[in-house]
């Protein structure tokens, strides 16, 4: 099993060409956080400005994983874009809160809510 | 290929732990580059080693050694006194 390949898929957003959905599944941790940063930088290089991160199937995140998300968030904002996160489970949200990242990340309850802010 | 590595685990003998011990060996095998089929075999062999031991050693500590060599996993189970309870080998691809 290759954790990096299993973790992340990229999809288009209907009607918003400069946005992508990043669907996460499994665990985001020190073994694959760098891959997330690489994917985001690659998307930025393609001209993508908005990312909607689907956490519905994300079971676990550690501080390194959150670091990658904060990095991605910072890079999207620097480029004049945005990053939104949706479908965060209770346990993951608690970790995000404890670290204080909830004040820095744009978190929505559902993917529909997050995508609606793009249109 | 990484150099040979050994994981040593001392764990309380408790049958409810068995699914998680098996999963640990499988996960570790994958982390060492074993293919999913070999990792699954490693899980089966771990189950075989432990099931018998937990029945005859209902309390106390069991020690599992997982030695990863190039394309091979050697599993060895010992009781608290250091007596060998069993060994298994799994070829990794």
């Amino acid at each position: 099993m290759n954790d990096k390949q299993m973790l992340l898929t990229v999809e288009f957003v209907d009607g918003v060409p400069m946005a992508r959905i990043l669907r996460f599944s499994g665990d985001l941790d020190s073994t694959n956080a760098e891959h997330v940063s690489e994917v985001v930088l690659s998307l930025l290089g393609e001209g993508v400005l908005h990312i909607v991160a689907d956490f519905t199937k994300l079971r676990y995140v550690n501080s390194t994983g959150l670091g990658a998300l904060l990095f991605a968030n910072k890079k999207m904002k620097e480029a004049g874009g945005s990053m939104k996160i949706a479908g965060v489970n209770e346990n993951v949200f608690e970790i995000i809160e404890i670290i204080g990242a909830n004040t820095l990340l744009e978190i929505h309850r559902t993917m529909d809510d997050a995508i609606a802010t793009l249109k | 290929m990484m150099e040979p590595q050994t994981i040593r685990m001392d764990i309380s003998s408790d049958d409810v732990f068995l699914p998680y011990i098996r999963q640990f060996v499988s996960d570790s095998s994958l982390a060492m580059g074993f293919d999913p089929r070999s990792a699954s075999l490693a899980e089966v062999e771990t189950n075989s080693l432990f099931s018998y031991a937990i029945d005859v050693i209902p309390s106390g500590i069991l020690r599992l050694e997982c030695r990863f060599e190039p394309s091979l996993l050697r599993l060895s189970l010992f009781d608290e006194g250091g007596n060998l309870c069993g060994t298994r080998e799994v070829v990794g691809l």
Binding site: D3, D27, D29, S30, T31, Y60, N62, S63, T64, L66, G67, A68, L70, F71, K74, E90, N91, E94, I95, I98, I99, G100, T103, L104 | M2, Q5, T6, I7, R8, M9, D10, I11, S12, D14, D15, V16, F17, P19, Y20, I21, Q23, F24, D27, S28, A31, M32, D55, P58, S59, I61
Partner: protein, 265 residues
């Protein structure tokens, strides 16, 4: 010895003096109810509140007897006692399950399984895990999932297991990344019972100067989360989740220990 068709015997449990064993033999019907109730009354009077009902030699158990056992259960549990069923034959177990008995009484296939559960539940027996692992980040997910699984298997909630998973992950990665494990290994000692968890992660390292040791101690004493920064969050997270965190930094070894008390039993 050939026993009468329906026999009810009460014996002490050799391996566990605080438990009594109610041995039933053959077909257990209405006629056994009075005897069973009397035996349990006697136990309660003698302040013996834990009962194991041995069904291994039972062919048939009537519904009124099941009802009587439910009544016994109530009496024992009111006094913080317990009642469990031992080794019902498959056909009997199937019938009992149809009656919903398995939803009320725990079953154990053998006395060792019962003892493990009993001592955990009523005698605060603990469980432990020690790992000596190569300092390779790829193993950390396996380690944290193992520890979370052990906790779940003994009745900890998913949230509690998740929090420990976070602690294990952060301390292990810290040992691997920052600990300069000299022998390329690190160790985890983990023990827990019904009410508390203890975890220690340690690694050897190249000889640290006094200044280096103090820098590490300061990092543990005052971990800081810098908003927007990608670094330095792991130890702060551990400190916030754990009930208590201590550390020991020597010239050639670093160990971080935590205790996590359960919020409610």
């Amino acid at each position: 010895m050939t026993l009468p068709v329906s026999t009810v015997l009460l014996e002490p449990f050799a391996e566990e003096p605080t438990v009594s064993v109610l041995r039933l033999y053959g077909d257990i019907g209405l006629e056994a109810i009075t005897r069973i109730s009397a035996l349990v009354d006697d136990l309660v009077e003698k302040k013996r509140f834990h009962l194991l009902v041995d069904l291994s030699q039972v062919n048939f158990l009537s519904s009124p007897v099941v009802g009587a056992l439910m009544g016994c259960r109530e009496r024992l549990m009111r006094r913080s006692g317990s009642i469990a069923l031992l080794a019902p034959k498959p056909e009997l177990a199937e019938k009992l399950n149809l009656m919903g008995v398995n939803l009320v009484f725990p079953y154990y296939s053998n006395k060792n399984a019962f003892l493990r559960h009993f001592r955990w539940e009523y005698q605060s027996e603990s469980r432990s895990l020690t790992l000596e692992v190569p300092a390779y980040a790829g193993y950390v997910p396996a380690i944290r999932r193992l520890i979370a699984g052990l906790l779940l298997s003994k009745g900890y909630t998913p949230r509690e297991a998740f929090q420990l998973e976070s602690i294990v992950d952060e301390l292990s990665n810290n040992a691997i990344e920052h600990g300069l494990p000299i022998d390329k290994k690190f160790s985890i000692s983990f023990s827990f019972d019904k009410s508390s968890i203890h975890l220690a992660v340690a690694n050897g390292c190249k000889t640290l100067s006094s200044e280096a040791q103090e820098r590490i101690r300061e990092k543990f004493r005052n971990p800081c989360i810098i908003p927007g920064s990608m670094r330095g969050r792991g130890i702060a997270l551990v400190k916030k989740i754990a009930s208590d965190m201590t550390f020991r930094v020597d010239a050639q070894r670093v160990q971080v220990s935590i205790t996590k008390m359960r919020e409610e039993s």
